[in-house]
C-alpha cells in the first residue's frame, strides 16, 4: 500500500544547529505566517532532515533510516502518526 506523500509547507523558515556551527541534532522551525516557533530534536530532527532532503513519504523515510542502519523509536503511533502531527502543526502538507 502506498503511503501519503508530503511536502514542506511554503511559509516556513528553519535553521539546523549545524547551520550555526553547532553539533546538536536539533532544528528550529518558524511558521512565518503565524510567527510560531517549533523545535525538533533527536529522531524528530532526523525525520525533518530526511523530509527536506526529498524523502517525501513514510516508506521512503523508513527505508532511508534502514539504509543508515539506525534504530528509531517513533512512539506509539509510529512514523505515520508523527507525520500527521507535523501536518497538524502546519509544518508539512499533503501532496495534492
Amino acid at each position: 500500500m502506498s503511503r501519503q506523500p508530503y511536502r514542506i509547507s511554503p511559509e516556513l523558515a528553519w535553521v539546523d544547529a549545524e547551520d550555526g556551527g553547532r553539533h546538536d541534532h536539533v532544528v528550529w522551525i518558524a511558521r512565518l505566517d503565524t510567527a510560531e516557533l517549533f523545535e525538533l530534536a533527536g529522531s524528530a530532527w532526523l525525520v525533518w532532515s530526511l523530509l527536506t532532503d526529498g524523502f517525501t513519504d513514510a516508506s521512503a523515510i523508513e527505508h532511508e533510516i534502514d539504509e543508515l542502519e539506525m534504530t528509531v523509536d517513533f512512539g506509539e503511533g509510529g512514523l505515520d502518526a508523527f507525520l500527521v502531527a507535523l501536518e497538524a502543526q502546519g509544518l508539512i502538507e499533503r501532496e495534492s
Binding site: L12, A13, A35, E36, E39, T52
Partner: protein, 286 residues
C-alpha cells in the same frame, strides 16, 4: 514540539527570513547585511548574531515599516535615537529577535538612495533560514563590515577585509571610492592617516580610535558637518535628551520631570567635559 526557547543566533536566521517575507509581501527592496547574510568565507568563527540587520531602499522605507507593523513588529528605538548617525531604527516582535532597519549606511558621502541603488545593482541571493534573501555582493559585504569596524572604537576588527581574497580587494576599494566612503573605509582597515585632508577625517578618527568622552564625539561631528545648518543640527542633538536611552535606563516611560532632570545632568556633564578638555589642552601647551 513547541519551542519556548530558541537560541538567539538561530532566531536571528529565521528573523531574516520573516523580514524577507514582509519585504516580498509589500514589494520593498531590502538588502540583508551583517550576521548570517555575510559569507562564511568572510567571517571568523561561528554565527553569534543577536539581531537581524536590513538596509532598505529609502523610497520603500515607509511601506516596509508599515508592512512590518502589520506583521506584528513594534518600533523600539527610532532613527533619531538609535545611534549618533541616525541611520537605523530598532524594532521588536513577540516571536522574532530584534530587527535593525537601516535607512542609510554610515560612511559614504554619496546620497543614501544612490548608495542603495549601487548596492542593489550588484546584489545576490543567499538562503537564510532556508529562504532566499537578497544580500550584498562580496565586495560590498567586505566594505560594509569595514565601515562597521570604522565606528567600533577599535573593538571590532575588519575581519572581512583581512579574509577578503586578494583578487577582490581592488573591487572593494573601487566600490568605496564610488560611494565616496574612502575615509570611513580607510578608518576601518587602519589606513586613515592617508586621508588626513579629508573633510570627514575628524569624524572617523574619533569613531575608529578607543572611546573618548562625549565632547570628543560632538567635536568630531561638528568639524565634519559641512554646512552651517548641519553644524546647528549637531549642536541641537548634542544637548537634546535621548528619551529612548532614558527609558531603557529607568525601565519605564520617562516623565517630564525625568526629562528635565536629565537635561540638567546633561548640561552639567557637558560643562565638566569642556573644563576637562581645557585642562588637558592647558596641560599639553604648558
Amino acid at each position: 514540539m513547541l519551542a519556548p526557547e530558541v537560541p538567539v543566533w538561530a532566531l536571528t536566521h529565521v528573523t531574516h527570513a520573516a523580514l524577507q517575507r514582509t519585504a516580498d509581501r509589500v514589494g520593498a527592496d531590502v538588502l540583508h547585511i551583517k550576521g548570517p547574510s555575510t559569507l562564511q568565507s568572510l567571517r571568523r568563527g561561528r554565527h553569534d548574531s543577536t539581531d537581524a540587520d536590513l538596509l532598505v531602499r529609502p523610497a520603500h522605507l515607509a511601506a516596509f515599516i508599515a508592512g512590518m507593523q502589520e506583521d506584528g513588529w513594534e518600533l523600539f528605538t527610532d532613527f533619531d535615537e538609535g545611534s549618533p548617525f541616525g541611520h537605523a531604527a530598532n524594532f521588536i516582535h513577540p516571536s522574532w529577535t530584534y530587527a535593525d532597519i537601516h535607512r542609510a549606511v554610515p560612511g559614504p558621502l554619496a546620497a543614501p538612495d544612490a548608495v542603495f541603488e549601487r548596492l542593489w545593482g550588484s546584489r545576490m541571493t543567499l538562503p537564510i533560514g532556508n529562504r532566499h534573501c537578497t544580500v550584498l555582493s562580496l565586495p560590498a559585504q567586505v566594505l560594509m563590515q569595514a565601515l562597521h569596524s570604522a565606528r567600533s572604537h577599535g573593538l571590532e576588527p575588519a575581519d572581512a577585509w583581512a579574509l577578503c581574497p586578494d583578487d577582490h580587494r581592488d573591487a572593494v576599494r573601487a566600490l568605496a571610492a564610488e560611494l565616496q566612503a574612502e575615509t570611513a573605509f580607510a578608518a576601518g582597515i587602519g589606513e586613515l592617516d592617508a586621508h588626513s585632508d579629508a573633510p570627514d577625517h575628524a569624524l572617523w578618527a574619533y569613531w575608529s580610535a578607543p572611546e573618548g568622552d562625549r565632547l570628543d564625539e560632538w567635536q568630531a561631528r561638528l568639524r565634519s558637518a559641512s554646512t552651517f545648518g548641519a553644524k546647528l543640527s549637531v549642536l541641537r542633538q548634542a544637548m537634546r535628551v535621548n528619551r529612548t536611552h532614558l527609558r531603557l535606563r529607568l525601565e519605564r516611560e520617562p516623565s517630564r520631570g525625568d526629562v528635565a532632570r536629565e537635561q540638567v545632568t546633561r548640561t552639567a556633564h557637558a560643562v565638566r567635559s569642556v573644563v576637562s578638555h581645557l585642562f588637558r589642552r592647558f596641560g599639553r601647551s604648558s
